[in-house]
Every structure is written in structure tokens, then in C-alpha cells.
């Protein structure tokens, strides 16, 4: 099958290795990938910071670019949540009937990575090998907005060599919240400190998630504190094999 990859603006800029891992993983599973060269950003940062008219334009752009594709895969749960939870309201406010129709037709074909693997491809064993102790952070958007449920655990559970150690208080936010981390930098840091106690307490070598924004937050603090623990997007774990270690 043919799938279009929406890499998202911050993955493109800051985490290209996640994109490369998605390509490795999906092509290994027999998927043909497209990459729309016009893509930029879904508009989440603007919408969530109160810049609604700016978000309108970016949401419209997303729909126009992906209107005709078979499926879109997005390796970032918060960006998928933006599309799923906010676009309809934005388009209703714009009053553009055609855009609304196009979006309604596109929406069922927009997938977060773990949804795509399990719901669309019907696989939980992707043939990965990652001989490390790993803990999974359930990112608020993955947990609540997308209700990913046991999909991440099913995927990680089939990775050879991987020891999954549960993260306590899984439903507690890491304090990132996009521009919240800057606008309310100190409160965000206090939330992060509490989260880090749980994360470091697992004794894992890696903290993984399906959203690099939380991982940028957690990883930045782990690095600052010389905590001896790294963050890694789940795509990179799933792309990793005995023959070819992605990282």
C-alpha cells in the first residue's frame, strides 16, 4: 500500500532520525512511502497559543496537500490530535463548505504511527530487535486525545531483547505543553521535576514515546542532569533490527 508521510515541522527540523526510522520501518513492512515536498506544519503551535487565524491557514494547507492521498502517517501524537480535535472546529468557523467536506473525507485516513501499524497494517510484531531496558511515556495526547490504549505496549512487547519497565503515574503530564514550557517556564519545570523522579526511578536506559515533543522536554532535562538515560522515539526502536541498529 501507498502512504504519505507527514513528518511534522519539529521532527523535520530537530529529529530527522525519527523520520528516517519511520521510513526504514514502513518500507521493511512493504509500505510504499511518499513525501509531499510542500508540507510544513499542522498549525498546532499556533492554535494552542491563541493564534487562531494563523492556524486556519496552516490547517487549510494540510487538507489541500493531503486531500487525495490514500493514507497519511504522522509520527507525533499531538499533531494527530490537532488534526482530529481542532480542524473540524476551525473549518466550521471559517464556513468553507468545500474544505469541510474534503476534511471529513480525509480524516479517517489520518493515522498516528502506532494506529497505522496495528489498525491499518494489522501487525504488532514488526521484527524489531532492541536489547535494552526501556520505559514508555504515554504523552497526554496519545493517552487521552487519541486513546492509543494498549497499542504502544503491544508493539514494544514484541520487540526482541527489549525489557519494558512500567512508568508510575503514566497519566501525569511531563509539563511541556508547547509554548506553556516557556510562558510558564517555572511551573513547567516543577512539573518536569516530578515527572523525572518517576522516569529516572524506573532505572531504564531509554525513555520512549510516540511524541518527540515530550521527549525533547524530558531528554533536555535528563541531559542537563547527567542522568545517564536517553530518550528515543518509538519509531527508532521499532526500526532497529539485529542486522541494522538504527541509532
Amino acid at each position: 500500500m501507498r502512504v504519505s508521510l507527514f513528518i511534522t515541522c519539529y521532527n523535520d527540523t530537530l529529529f530527522p532520525e525519527t523520520g528516517r526510522a519511520v521510513v526504514t520501518l514502513l518500507e521493511r513492512l512493504g509500505v510504499t512511502l511518499d513525501f509531499e515536498a510542500r508540507q510544513t506544519c499542522c498549525g498546532q503551535m499556533h492554535a494552542n497559543t491563541g493564534f487562531r487565524s494563523e492556524a486556519f491557514a496552516l490547517a487549510r494547507r494540510f487538507v489541500e496537500i493531503y486531500r487525495d492521498v490514500e493514507a497519511v502517517v504522522i509520527p507525533s501524537s499531538s499533531c494527530v490530535a490537532m488534526v482530529r480535535d481542532q480542524y473540524a472546529g476551525l473549518f466550521a468557523e471559517l464556513g468553507d463548505e468545500r474544505l469541510r467536506r474534503d476534511f471529513a473525507a480525509l480524516l479517517p485516513r489520518v493515522y498516528e504511527l502506532s494506529e497505522f501499524l496495528i489498525d491499518r497494517l494489522g501487525v504488532d510484531d514488526v521484527g524489531a530487535y532492541f536489547p535494552h531496558k526501556v520505559t514508555y511515556h504515554a504523552s497526554c495526547h496519545g493517552l487521552r486525545a487519541l486513546a492509543l490504549g494498549d497499542r504502544p505496549a503491544r508493539l514494544l512487547g514484541k520487540v526482541r531483547g527489549l525489557e519494558l519497565t512500567p512508568l508510575p503515574n503514566l497519566d501525569r503530564c511531563c509539563g511541556f505543553g508547547g509554548t506553556f514550557s516557556v510562558k510558564n517556564g517555572e511551573v513547567s519545570s516543577a512539573m518536569l521535576a516530578v515527572k523525572l523522579q518517576d522516569v529516572v526511578g524506573t532505572g531504564a536506559e531509554f525513555c520512549t514515546a510516540l511524541d518527540n515533543s515530550c521527549l525533547m522536554h524530558l531528554g533536555g532535562a535528563l541531559h542537563r542532569q547527567y542522568a545517564g538515560m536517553r530518550t528515543i522515539h518509538m519509531a527508532e526502536i521499532l526500526a532497529s533490527t539485529q542486522e541494522e541498529v538504527v541509532r
Binding site: D12, L14, E27, C41, H46, G50, C140, R144, G175, F180
Partner: protein
């Protein structure tokens, strides 16, 4: 309570320099400032107000412990309810119906309560409500009044107003007594003294009640409060309370509580005054079936709250013989007119949202500068202030969605937060902020960059060159100037990689093997 932030903050606000808008009282005869920290007009912006709390480890421990206990109880009792989601949906429907026809139901309540012997007053704002209450008390020649915990009374800053008019107020809810005697501020709408721990309560009671050798055993503390209260219940002739629900169908008022102090206030005095926001209306008596189930479980983690009082007007020879209800608008009715925001008025004040909120867990309630803290306060307060004050509150959330998940009347708080943020930004667009605010300018620039792939890729190149200056030998950024400093104060940032993903995709050698050559050319031509 030596380290309660209210103190620290009131020292920052210049009390004498303040003036009174909207008829807010600014001070009383003895020079005490009336709740400056919880008045959105004067409160510091949330990020600044949060700082003293974040540095107060005792306070943070008290708050985290208290809400963890309540949350765990709530979770257990919600878990045992197989129809919880249906109950939430029913709760939302009932409140939506009440709000949809609020005009009709309020008039119906007025007629039926009046027919049963009550007096119904309509107050457009806080000042009018305060004046009505004072007139009633003056007519009764009451010099003292006992109070049931009411956040609506705190919203209109009733106590300092009455005190300055020479009427002594006595709080009867245990937490409110602690705050009144300790001169503190409520930090939670169900458990107002949640930020105060047992040994701090002991200190306040020993000092203010003059009890030597008081232990911090909960039984000793409640016994001290009980003997303090008993005298007030027996001699004070007037009581003021709020309402959890007003029943349009019968004209009845409902108050739910845990301590029995409410029951005493509702039955012993000769005059009873109920102050209620107009959104407290329920259409029918039977609606209580749903509301009482969701409120008790959500608020205190109980199947049923210990005391549920329901009364309709006046019964000759039984209970208060004079009964007044004040229906308070104070900024509520404009919210009805907004499609997304209207759901704010569904709130039944259970506080489940603040108990689950990871922001509230760190900051407690005082940082919100409002009698309504936490997620619900972050959406309700700026709206009650008609977006003129408390503009930092819609941003006091990481949008994690935990509040929406627990809300028993399904208020989509993140959705409302985002909408209010857009309203704040729209105000900025007309103001000076658009010329110098780095966040505003940054967001506008980012929008421009995202408007085409070419501009986006150019911006990436500029950022990569610019960031090189801040990137250490280890490839990480440890310190940034300006807004970025808020990030690097506690976190590093990995330096920007040389090759963005899109560049790797375009360059990768094996692309043509796996992708259709025509397809590639077609895209390149766009």
C-alpha cells in the same frame, strides 16, 4: 501559616495605591486589605504569582498530599460505577437544558420560591448583591452572621464588605474557620484550606482560640472547632450560604455538605440568606438523581455526601421564618452567548479538575489570583472578568486534558482554554504587544515561515546558523537568551542537526529504486 503565599503576595501589591473599580471594596476601617490576592483585578499574572509557591516546599507537599488522597478516593468510587459515562452525559444534558432556557427557569424558580414564602432578589453584579445582603441584615438588626461555605460569597468579597459595615461574620465550615482565624485565603473550592496541614491548624487554633496544650490530633482539633462553633450556632440570628442547586420546578434550594455545619445554619437562625449564581438552576426535582450521584463522587470521593439539605420557602414554626434568595449574574450571562464557552456554566463546583490537574498540583490555588482556581478557574475567572483581567489564566495549562477526562458534566476545558487564548491574542493584535512582544512576533514569523516549504527550509537554515553560536562542543545548547532562557533554565536542547529530514529524503540514493520516477518528477515540478 508563616509561609502562606497570600502574605508574600499581598506584600507585593501596593494596597494603598489601589482604587476600586466595579464597586469592589478596597479596604476596611482597620486598614486590612480584603483578599487582595484572590481579586483578579489586582492579582499578579499566573507565572509570577506561582513563583513564591514553587519555592515553598511545605506548601507543595501539603497540596500534593491532599489532592492525591482525594483523587484516589474519587477514582475508586468512579471505577465501581458501571454507568459512569452515562451519568456524565446525563449531567451535561441536564445542565445544557437548564442553560438553554435559563430565562424561563429562573423566572419559574422566582415564582415558585416566592409562592412558598421566600423572597427572591436579582443582582446584576457583586456590588448589587452585597447591597441587598446588607439591607436585609440591617432590617433584621443583625450585628453578627454565621456563614456556610460559599465560594460565590467569596467571589463577591462579602466578608470584608460586611465587616467594614460593622457586621461580624463567622465562618462555620472547618476549613473556612481555619482560614478566617488564620487570616488566610481559600486555595481550593471544595477543600479551601487544603494548603494548610494539621500542625499549622493546631497553631492557628491554639493562638486564636486561646487553647493551651492543644494537640494536632484531628479529634482534638475538631473538638476545639465544635465548641467554638456551638456558641455561634445558638446565638447568631442570621445565616448566609450558597446553593448547590436551585430547582425551577418546585422553587427548592439544595445544599450538600460534609460537616453538618450547613444543616445547623439552615435550621437554627431566624433569617436565612442564600446567594446563588444564576447557573445553579436545575429544571426538575428529579434531576437531583443524577447530579447528587456525580457531585459527591467527584468532589469528595463519597457515594453520598453526609448532609443533603433541601428546603422550599418557609415552613411556619420550623426553621428560619425569613428566607431570601439572591440570584447573582456578575458576568455570567454574557458567557451564555458564546457557543464554545457556554459549557463553562455547566460547572457544579466539584473541583475534580483541580484535583487531577498537574499544574494545580505544583502551584496550589493562590497562584490563580481568583476564588476559582485550577482548570475551571482558568476558564471561568477571565470570563467573569469579561476578559479585562486574569488574561494569564487561560495559558496556565499544559492542555494535558486530565480535567476534561474527570469532569462530571463533560466540560471540554482544553477546548475552552484554547478559545480564550485566541481571545487574548485578538486583544494583543490591537495593542502595543504586537510591536515588541517576542512571543507575538515569533508566532507571526513562524506563520510566515510555514506558509511555504521554501520559506520553511530557508528559516531552518537561518536557525541552524544562528543556533551554532549557542551550541556547545557536545552538540547541545545549554543556555539561550530571551524567551529561550525560560527553556534553558532547567533543560538543555540538542543542537540542530545538519540535515533536516526533507533534505535526507530528497538526497537518499535508493529513493528511485523504491519510488516511481514519474512521481518524483511530478512533485518536483510543483
Amino acid at each position: 501559616m508563616s509561609a502562606v503565599p497570600a502574605r508574600a503576595l499581598s506584600a507585593v501589591v501596593d494596597v494603598d495605591a489601589r482604587h476600586a473599580p466595579n464597586g469592589h471594596p478596597t479596604g476596611n476601617s482597620n486598614g486590612h486589605s480584603p483578599n487582595p490576592v484572590l481579586d483578579p483585578v489586582y492579582a499578579l499574572p499566573f507565572p509570577k504569582a506561582a513563583l513564591p509557591v514553587l519555592r515553598d516546599s511545605q506548601l507543595r507537599k501539603n497540596v500534593a498530599h491532599a489532592i492525591d488522597v482525594i483523587q484516589a478516593k474519587r477514582a475508586r468510587l468512579v471505577e465501581e460505577k458501571s454507568d459512569w459515562q452515562a451519568l456524565r452525559a446525563a449531567g451535561a444534558r441536564i445542565k445544557d437544558e437548564a442553560l438553554e432556557h435559563l430565562d424561563t427557569y429562573l423566572v419559574q424558580f422566582d415564582e415558585r420560591c416566592t409562592a412558598a414564602g421566600g423572597h427572591v432578589h436579582w443582582a446584576a453584579d457583586a456590588g448589587e448583591a452585597r447591597r441587598i445582603i446588607l439591607e436585609i441584615l440591617r432590617e433584621e438588626k443583625a450585628e453578627e452572621v454565621i456563614k456556610i461555605k460559599s465560594m460565590t460569597a467569596t467571589e463577591i468579597q462579602l466578608n470584608p464588605f460586611l465587616e467594614s459595615a460593622g457586621i461580624r461574620t463567622y465562618e462555620t465550615d472547618l476549613a473556612e474557620i481555619i482560614l478566617q482565624l488564620g487570616e488566610g485565603e481559600p486555595s481550593h473550592i471544595v477543600v479551601p484550606a487544603l494548603h494548610v496541614n494539621r500542625s499549622q491548624v493546631r497553631e492557628i487554633f491554639a493562638r486564636r482560640m486561646g487553647i493551651e496544650n492543644l494537640s494536632d490530633d484531628p479529634r482534638a482539633l475538631t473538638a476545639a472547632a465544635r465548641s467554638y462553633l456551638r456558641q455561634k450556632f445558638l446565638k447568631v440570628p442570621a445565616a448566609i450560604g450558597g446553593a448547590n442547586f436551585l430547582i425551577a420546578e418546585t422553587g427548592a434550594v439544595a445544599v450538600v455538605e460534609s460537616e453538618g455545619n450547613g444543616r445547623m445554619c439552615l435550621t437554627l437562625p431566624s433569617t436565612l440568606i442564600t446567594l446563588a449564581g444564576i447557573e445553579k438552576i436545575l429544571p426538575r426535582y428529579n434531576d437531583l438523581e443524577v447530579m447528587l450521584q456525580i457531585l459527591a463522587r467527584s468532589a469528595t470521593g463519597e457515594r453520598m455526601n453526609p448532609y443533603t439539605s433541601l428546603w422550599t420557602g418557609v415552613q411556619p414554626g420550623d426553621g428560619p421564618q425569613k428566607f431570601h434568595v439572591i440570584l447573582l449574574d456578575n458576568g455570567r450571562s454574557p458567557i451564555l452567548g458564546r457557543r464554545t464557552e457556554r459549557q463553562t456554566l455547566r460547572c457544579i463546583r466539584c473541583a475534580a479538575c483541580m484535583n487531577t490537574c498537574p499544574v494545580y498540583r505544583q502551584t496550589g490555588g493562590h497562584a490563580y489570583g481568583s476564588v476559582y482556581p485550577g482548570p475551571i478557574g482558568a476558564i471561568l475567572t477571565p470570563q467573569l472578568m469579561q476578559m479585562k483581567h486574569a488574561q494569564s489564566l487561560p495559558f496556565a495549562s499544559s492542555l494535558c486534558g486530565a480535567c476534561y477526562e474527570v469532569c462530571p458534566v463533560k466540560i471540554n476545558i482544553p477546548e475552552v482554554l484554547i478559545d480564550l487564548r485566541a481571545q487574548v491574542t485578538d486583544l494583543e493584535r490591537k495593542g502595543l504587544a504586537r510591536f515588541f512582544d517576542p512571543m507575538y512576533l515569533g508566532m507571526r514569523a513562524a506563520k510566515l515561515a510555514f506558509s511555504s516549504a521554501g520559506l520553511f527550509h530557508a528559516a531552518q537554515k537561518i536557525a541552524r546558523v544562528g543556533m551554532r553560536f549557542f551550541t556547545g562542543k557536545d552538540g547541545w545548547i545549554h543556555s539561550l537568551p530571551g524567551m529561550g532562557a525560560k527553556w534553558t533554565q532547567t533543560r538543555d536542547l540538542r543542537g540542530l542537526p545538519k540535515q533536516p529530514f526533507h533534505a535526507w529524503w530528497t538526497d537518499r540514493p535508493d529513493r528511485t529504486d523504491r519510488n516511481d520516477q514519474n512521481d518524483r518528477q511530478k512533485r518536483a515540478a510543483r
